[in-house]
Symmetry: C2
Subunit: 383 residues, 2 copies
């Protein structure tokens, strides 16, 4: 049905009406007191969301642009970096490093499995000459729905002395990413995820230790030069024309998030992940990520004896719900349900009931109609 | 008065209601047939606006990000580039080149004066070894309101063989930039100018000759790697999550532009520039750019015996009209009136009458009240 789309993909995510209406305001000049007031307020909100006293910089870019900025501002050609890779985004950060002539060493795990923190410890302990300058880890791997143990990995990185660069694109706003407590040096994210905003803004938070590395980092950059953003942020402005309407929207979204409260936001995502996972199990659909490693932002399902793409297609065509497919070698083999950002418990019930309808239509063997919604409802009630 | 702001700055520019409402639509997934349809339509519209058969790529970035992409994708470290510099943006492209280790030679003119095409001819003819790989010229210099003679400079570049990289950020949509006819190889622009959109999108058009250079260009890039955008554009998609709401808005804005027609759009900007310049002269306010070199996008005024910032402040505070100040060494010495994008003849009369009121309040010597509006009206009527 036209105009009735429901987004259950891991970005873009649903956007609240008041945020959409803020987007539709007439732009203002970005070299104005009015803009600076908004910028001061949203930067304050971003620090709250990152649980940090560090700088949080705002770019007109996607999450990839933000992460690239978070890498190239702190390193020099030939620098050795350790990259965690257990999905499309981990692989992407290795590609970014290679594009800039960094020396990449990878800690890998199969797609769908979590990174093993011990492998980071081993690699870092072996690097007695401290040649590894940065460790890059994707917290919530969007391509597989795996949540990596960023906290533990970061504790090993702190012992070593390298920079800890975290991709929090789908974890920030879905689960706690306490930048200061976890000693993260760089945290990158994008607006179309937990922020309840459309795509268009990237965020990079930077620790004092990372700024110290910036001072002698030699990779070339201009538009993504975070030093320029820091310098202008001190005056509550930006070096290049910012997407002012997205700032209006960010202002509203952060107000909503603060009203809900961090703990409530994280509990909601956890509850909805639990409900989604319980429902999949009840319906006989195998989860890609094992229990304990699921991302509160997204659940990936790897069906057997029924085609993932057929399920996704029915849900889309009959019920106007967009779920995501698999990426790269998982294309056609999994489907992914986003439960990230502006998602209510009702949305989870809705998505599960649509999946039930699809499984019925496909005569999926062993599936007992009603079990998915029942399990989801139970998990949601358990909180 | 709150919520009554009128933008007469060179970006962000006013945005039509139907474009704002498109921004407020619920996002859709970017890996969907619906998005691909929009992308196909807007790329077609962008080619029409650029008067080209070449690729036009869409980035989540400001105009500076688009221009940086337009430079770094086609060059290698140490390459020699010739940069036209007669204002803040010409200087910025030289800075971008320097940040990437290119060898920069500049053709300069005083801020407010046009670049001399003959100096480009001389420099290019002297380069018999064809070491100059690219020439970078800002068409409409936003900082001064000067329109450089891009067509003539480009004709010399064609004779030499270097790439012609044009900053059309404030000229595209305000005056004709016929990419194919003028043999431009790269054209960069941004959404918050002639496009009648908020900031948030950057555009880069690329000729086959530039793509040939891309094949062996070695400057590092990832987010700004235009090859990735070209590859995905062939499938009507983007390599990184695009600002889908801005695509909705772009679709509407391009429809409006096509309905008005290129010739009418250019004639409107020319007429409004003529009226603005005629009014300034009639009010005794000196223009920064000489006749024949004014930009149809923006008029810079360098008042004598009255402070530019006082004029700007009265117009802002009493009449809610935002005009721009000077940048860098022209700060405090000039003010700039944007007449770019969604600007009607009424807006010109409004801006001039507010300037008249400010000059009256400041008891500006020699100013005869009524002369500005009278001159503007006459020029607007002349077409």
């Amino acid at each position: 049905m036209d105009d009735k789309l429901m987004l259950m993909i891991p970005g873009p995510t649903p956007v609240p009406e008041q945020v959409l209406l803020a987007l539709a305001k007439h732009p203002i000049g970005h070299r104005s007191g009015d803009f600076s007031q908004i910028m001061a307020e949203v930067v304050d909100g971003l620090k709250w969301l990152h649980q940090t006293q560090n700088d949080v910089l705002i770019l007109a870019a996607s999450g990839t642009g933000a992460m690239e900025a978070g890498i190239i501002n702190f390193l020099s050609p030939g620098d050795r970096v350790l990259v965690g890779s257990n999905g499309k985004f981990g692989e992407r950060w290795a590609e970014v490093c290679q594009a800039y002539g960094l020396t990449v060493e990878s800690v890998t795990a199969e797609w769908g499995k979590p990174l093993d923190p011990e492998q980071f410890r081993t690699a870092l302990e072996a690097d007695t000459a401290q040649q590894i300058k940065a460790v890059i880890v994707t917290h919530s791997e969007t391509s597989t729905g795996v949540l990596n143990d960023l906290q533990t990995i970061s504790s090993f990185v702190k012992g070593h002395g390298a920079l800890m660069i975290a991709d929090a694109v789908t974890s920030l706003g879905a689960t706690s990413v306490p930048m200061d407590e976890w000693n993260l040096d760089v945290v990158g994210s994008g607006s179309q995820k937990g922020f309840m905003l459309p795509p268009g803004l990237g965020f990079v938070a930077v620790s004092p230790k990372a700024w110290a590395a910036y001072a002698h980092a030699k990779l070339p950059r201009y538009y993504l030069d975070l030093g320029k953003y820091r310098k202008d942020a001190a005056k509550n402005t930006t070096p290049f024309t910012p997407p002012v309407n997205m700032f209006f929207a960010l202002q509203v979204a952060l107000k909503m998030m603060r009203a809900e409260g961090l703990e409530n936001i994280f509990a909601r995502h956890q509850r909805q992940m639990n409900a989604t996972r319980a429902a999949m199990k009840a319906m006989g659909l195998p989860l890609l990520a094992a229990d304990g490693y699921g991302s509160p932002a997204i659940t990936a399902v790897a069906p057997i004896n029924v085609e993932a793409e057929k399920i996704r297609s029915i849900v889309r065509k009959r019920f106007d719900i967009a779920m995501a497919g698999g990426q790269d070698h998982l294309s056609g083999k999994i489907f992914r349900v986003g439960h990230l950002g502006f998602v209510s418990d009702r949305d989870i019930l809705t998505a599960i009931s649509a999946l039930e309808a699809a499984l019925q239509e496909l005569s999926y063997e062993g599936f007992v109609p009603g079990t998915g919604v029942t399990a989801a409802a139970k998990a949601l009630a358990a909180g």
